[in-house]
């Protein structure tokens, strides 16, 4: 299944990319929510 250079097929790598970008994006959103929450607390 893997090519001569030992690299998995493009479809597999694309799926991995989508999963990773989704997880990182979710992590980023959680941190952003925390920053917004901190800002609101400071205003109060």
């Amino acid at each position: 299944m893997w090519n001569e250079a030992g690299i998995p097929p493009a479809e597999m790598r694309m799926i991995a990319t989508v999963i990773i970008v989704f997880c990182l994006g979710l992590g980023g959103l959680l941190i952003y929510a925390k920053i917004m929450g901190n800002g609101k607390k400071q205003k109060e």
């Binding site: 690299i7 790598r13 990773i20 941190i31 901190n38």
Partner: protein
């Protein structure tokens, strides 16, 4: 175990560390965006250290085994292709982020008193990182790596007095061979990392001591301040996640392959060119004639590059500006000219060669 962790967190060293970070303030202005590139550069340095350490387990630095060991990393080591791809792409992103960090610092006059030590250590780190890139490029020992390093190590030869010594020091022999690979490998994995770690620590400590560079403008003076810990660090985390995302997208989808094994007895294949960050030097040498006013062009370029390096190193003392009032100064005009030249030659290198 819990007791131990509690004691560790409560220890004076850790407490002082977090206290120091929470008392450090960062101005929240329109220019704050540019501050993230310092942290991003450090992030890619850490990635380089980890991925490089993993590659080191399987890499073998001799002309007989170097290429085979890279092939083995790609084909037989579990996820070896990914680790190598991350190492290569992280190097590109590190240099990009470093150039942006340097440019932002320059145009925001981050070299002003009392930050001279931060600036000088930063410029030295810029040269060291380019040194990492240069010494690492020979390690795959394929035709491109071999001939690009052969040409690259030839350039300093025409530098007055020191040139031949530098070439000899890098190569060990008259042409690139086993000795050169050993020397560049030693530089890449031990000498440069040790110097870089010490210099990065110094850069961070003096930066912490003197605080961030704040423009002496109405915008800068009246800027709202946010604590470094946790407010700025949280924003830094978003920058790191973005950097990690870009790195993984590139590493997963565009893994760099390795060419045919280097053979010193055949002629250089057509189209050999250096990495993009050396394009300005490469394009300049290609565009100019062999001699200018009777002087060897390579000698002139060598002197010019050294002078430029010193000029950037000594910018805090040349500028004599203790305040950035948002005006146009000579260093900024010269810097803008140099930036345009670097961008122009890099684009020409990409398109034409």
């Amino acid at each position: 175990m819990k007791n131990f962790l509690e004691r560790l967190i409560d220890s004076a060293l850790i407490r002082n560390f977090f206290d120091a970070l929470s008392h450090k303030n960062i101005p929240a202005t329109r220019k704050t965006f540019w501050y993230f590139f310092g942290g991003l550069t450090l992030f890619f340095c850490v990635i380089q250290g980890i991925s490089g350490g993993l590659l080191l387990i399987y890499y073998s630095p001799t002309p007989q085994t170097a290429h085979e060991s890279i092939q083995s990393i790609l084909t037989t080591v579990p996820y070896g292709w990914l680790i190598r791809s991350i190492h290569v792409w992280s190097a590109h992103l590190l240099i990009t982020s470093l150039f942006i960090h340097f440019g932002a610092g320059f145009f925001m006059s981050a070299y002003r008193t009392p930050r001279e030590s931060v600036w000088i250590s930063g410029i030295l780190l810029l040269f060291l990182i380019l040194g990492f890139a240069f010494t690492g490029s020979l390690l795959p020992w394929d035709a491109r790596a071999y001939f690009a390093t052969q040409i690259g190590t030839e350039i300093p030869r025409s530098f007055p007095v020191l040139g031949p010594f530098v070439v000899r020091l890098l190569r060990g022999t008259s042409l690139i061979g086993a000795e050169s690979l050993k020397r560049l490998f030693a530089l890449h994995v031990t000498i440069l990392p040790v110097i870089s770690i010490l210099l990065i620590l110094f850069h961070l400590i003096v930066n912490h001591k003197h605080g961030p560079s704040i423009a002496d403008t109405a915008d800068g003076r009246n800027a709202k301040q946010i604590p470094f810990f946790p407010e700025f660090l949280l924003r830094d985390c978003i920058a790191w996640l973005t950097g990690l995302g870009i790195l993984l997208v590139l590493a997963l989808n565009l893994p760099p392959l390795v060419g045919a094994k280097a053979d010193p007895f055949v002629s250089a294949p057509a189209g050999i060119k250096p990495e993009w960050y050396f394009f300005p030097l490469y394009i300049t040498l290609r565009m100019l004639p062999g001699a200018i006013m009777g002087l060897n062009t390579e000698t002139l370029i060598n002197i010019l590059v050294a002078a430029l390096g010193f000029a950037f190193l000594l910018t805090p003392f040349i500028s004599h500006s203790s305040a950035d009032r948002g005006g146009i100064s000579f260093p900024k005009i010269a810097g803008a000219g140099i930036l345009l030249y670097l961008l122009g030659t890099t684009i020409i290198g990409w398109i034409l060669y």
